[in-house]
């Protein structure tokens, strides 16, 4: 096993025992990137047949900066200083976070020339903890998508388990880079499932923290009431260690809460005895529009996915958890329609700042006045997905429609929140510690299979988006492979700020299933 295949905490242990160095870890990581990644995403490129065999996690590789950071960690260790809890651990950053002196593109042409003058708080915290940033990874343009295919930087990321399939999205580069051994940790964002869905598709662990648990300062905004930065890792322990580092209040973001951050690692292996874990029939079926007729239909999930969740419930029950069946979550099906409204209104607002004046692209065409410059610049700079969100956001928030659409969607969000409050109420009927669900309605679909149908693509987030509306935390973890050898993810959802409990349950599940055969299967690009 190469150094780059070890977990983050194994690497820090080896480093502290002086059995390796941060520079050696980085060299192993960069070697792996060279083997599997292919050329980085760039503007005006299309994927060749050769590209289709590679992962393409990266937009920008920051290897020079990484060598400096790794050397600094080694120097600190040699001098007897503590270089931090994640010393020498390579990590990738979704290119939606600003990092000083580094291109920060949001995978959009309109920001392709933007170099950030400051660093986002979660990245700053990772670097302060000694972690070594190896690069910025690909995503759907401005995070608008669930497959990473809408990036303006092509070739877009492909799934390490089968490069004919999408990695999910929008944090596709984050999940793929972790799955392919290009870094043990990645920083992603989750607005409707953008960490958990790609984590499930790529067979890794993804965490959407409670809203406000992690600062959004330096995150290029999509939907400000829903966006949550969070970890992607290869196991629950690493994810917990990373959240420990990035969580907490921030004077630069008033929505980053002043709620103390518990020690996520201290009770990680305390087991699940006595915990109440719920299953809901509303997460075992999906409602979606038929791509041919447009009519809405209800359908049970694929058997393999439901079986993975039920198997996990049996495993947890055998360890002493109490499984509570038939927990009603009746507003789950309204998560996507409400999201179509709320996220578009917020996206349209956030996208108005890209105007060719202060930073980013300005058109080279001749223009008569400011208004024409705006139009030419925004037409050239935005891809189809940002344009779609701007137009929908403006339509549903217009004065004559606001009551019908926007305010109604905000009230539906309250109803979705109430489902969770009822399920987790310690004095209520269910008194759950966590709800156990599938993460996604399918495993990773093929490239081009859904892209272009913006409605069907959005429904890929149907089982993840309710947690964003409610603000509650969610953890996706691998739970097996389907008949095509593609990863299946299961999801744990908890009450506000109960990430510690989700980690505890997730770790118990990992320990109980560590000898299952599927855990020995590697992604195709590593075989």
């Amino acid at each position: 096993m190469e150094l780059c295949d070890l977990s983050a905490l194994e690497l820090t242990r080896l480093l502290r025992e002086k059995k390796t160095s941060a520079v050696e870890i980085l060299q192993s990581t960069l070697q792996r990137i060279g083997q599997v990644d292919g050329r980085p995403g760039a503007l005006d490129q299309t994927a060749t047949d050769e590209d289709k065999e590679k992962v393409h996690s990266f937009i920008t590789l920051t290897d020079e900066l990484a060598y400096k950071q790794a050397a600094a960690v080694d120097a600190d260790l040699a001098a007897g200083k503590d270089p931090g809890p994640l010393a020498g651990v390579p990590f990738t950053v979704k290119d939606i976070f600003c990092v000083k002196d580094t291109p920060s593109t949001a995978a959009s042409r309109i920001l392709a020339n933007f170099t950030s003058p400051y660093t986002a708080t979660p990245v700053e915290k990772m670097q302060a903890a000694g972690a070594v940033m190896v690069g910025k990874v690909n995503l759907d343009e401005f995070t608008y998508g669930s497959s990473t295919e809408s990036s303006a930087f092509q070739p877009s990321t492909r799934n390490p388990w089968n490069t004919k399939h999408v990695p999910g999205g929008s944090s596709g580069g984050s999940a793929a880079s972790v799955a392919a051994g290009e870094a043990p940790l990645s920083l992603g964002t989750d607005t409707a499932g953008s960490i958990r869905q790609p984590a499930a598709f790529c067979g890794v662990v993804g965490v959407k923290p409670s809203y406000g648990r992690v600062s959004r300062y330096g995150l290029i905004a999509f939907a400000s009431s829903l966006d949550c930065p969070g970890p992607v890792a290869r196991n629950v322990t690493d994810a917990a260690a990373m959240l420990q580092v990035i969580a907490g209040e921030d004077r630069h973001d008033s929505t980053a809460v002043k709620v103390s951050v518990p020690d996520y690692l201290s009770r990680l292996e305390a087991g699940v005895k006595g915990m109440r874990i719920g299953l809901s029939p509303d997460y075992f079926r999906i409602t979606f529009p038929d791509p041919k007729t447009g009519e809405f239909c209800e359908q049970a999930l694929p058997g393999e996915i439901e079986e993975s969740v039920r198997h996990a419930a049996e495993v947890l029950a055998a360890m002493g958890a109490e499984i509570v069946e038939d927990v009603p979550m009746p507003n789950t099906r309204f998560g996507i329609p409400a999201y179509f409204v709320i996220s578009r209104v917020e996206a349209a607002s956030n996208l108005h700042r890209y105007d060719g004046v202060k930073y980013g692209l300005r058109t080279d065409r001749k223009y008569a006045d400011l208004r024409e410059m705006y139009k030419f610049t925004r037409n050239e700079g935005f891809g189809l997905q940002p344009k779609l969100r701007i137009l929908m956001g403006m339509y549903v928030s217009a004065a004559q429609y606001s009551e019908q659409y926007y305010k109604r969607a905000l009230r539906v969000r309250t109803m979705i929140r109430r489902d969770f409050e009822t399920a987790f109420d310690p004095a209520g009927k269910y008194r759950l510690d966590a709800l156990l669900t599938p993460t996604t309605p399918t495993t990773a679909f093929k490239m081009d299979a859904v892209y272009g149908d913006s409605v069907l693509m959005q429904y890929a987030d149907q089982l993840t988006v309710p947690a964003n509306h409610a603000g509650v935390p969610g953890l996706s973890l691998p739970a097996g492979l389907d008949g095509s050898q593609m990863p299946i993810g299961i999801q744990l959802l908890g009450a506000d700020y109960t990430e510690e409990k989700l980690f505890q349950i997730g770790r118990a599940y990992e320990m109980a299933t560590e000898n299952e055969a599927w855990r020995r299967v590697k992604p195709a690009v590593l075989r």
Partner: protein
């Protein structure tokens, strides 16, 4: 259901959004908008009693959980050059914009 976003409404939205679209893009985007609206109409199926308030975000912040507002004080930024250098057009460190079109209020 007939198309809710007609070509006329669509063109108005495009203008408001300061966008300029090719015919192909306009056709695709208008179709996607109408399809998304069909999904949004699913919201009408949910019974909302009169007392259901709106939620601005899921987690209700209790008193003291948010940072207090900072004093509204001016602080010099350490590297204004890094910010100014991002501007597409700069003259004597002023950001230059094209002429602003004259608009008469109706």
């Amino acid at each position: 259901m007939s198309e809710q976003i007609t070509p006329e409404i669509f063109d108005h939205l495009v203008d408001l959004a300061a966008l300029e679209l090719s015919a192909d893009q306009a056709e695709y985007l208008r179709k996607q908008l109408n399809n998304q609206l069909k999904s949004i109409h699913e919201l009408e199926a949910i019974p909302l009693e009169g007392d259901v308030p709106i939620s601005l975000h899921g987690v209700p912040y209790e008193a003291g959980e948010s940072s207090e507002p900072r004093e509204d004080e001016w602080h010099a930024y350490s590297d204004t050059r890094a910010i100014l250098d991002q501007a597409p057009q700069l003259e004597d460190d002023y950001i230059v914009v094209p002429d602003i079109p004259h608009t008469s209020l109706k």
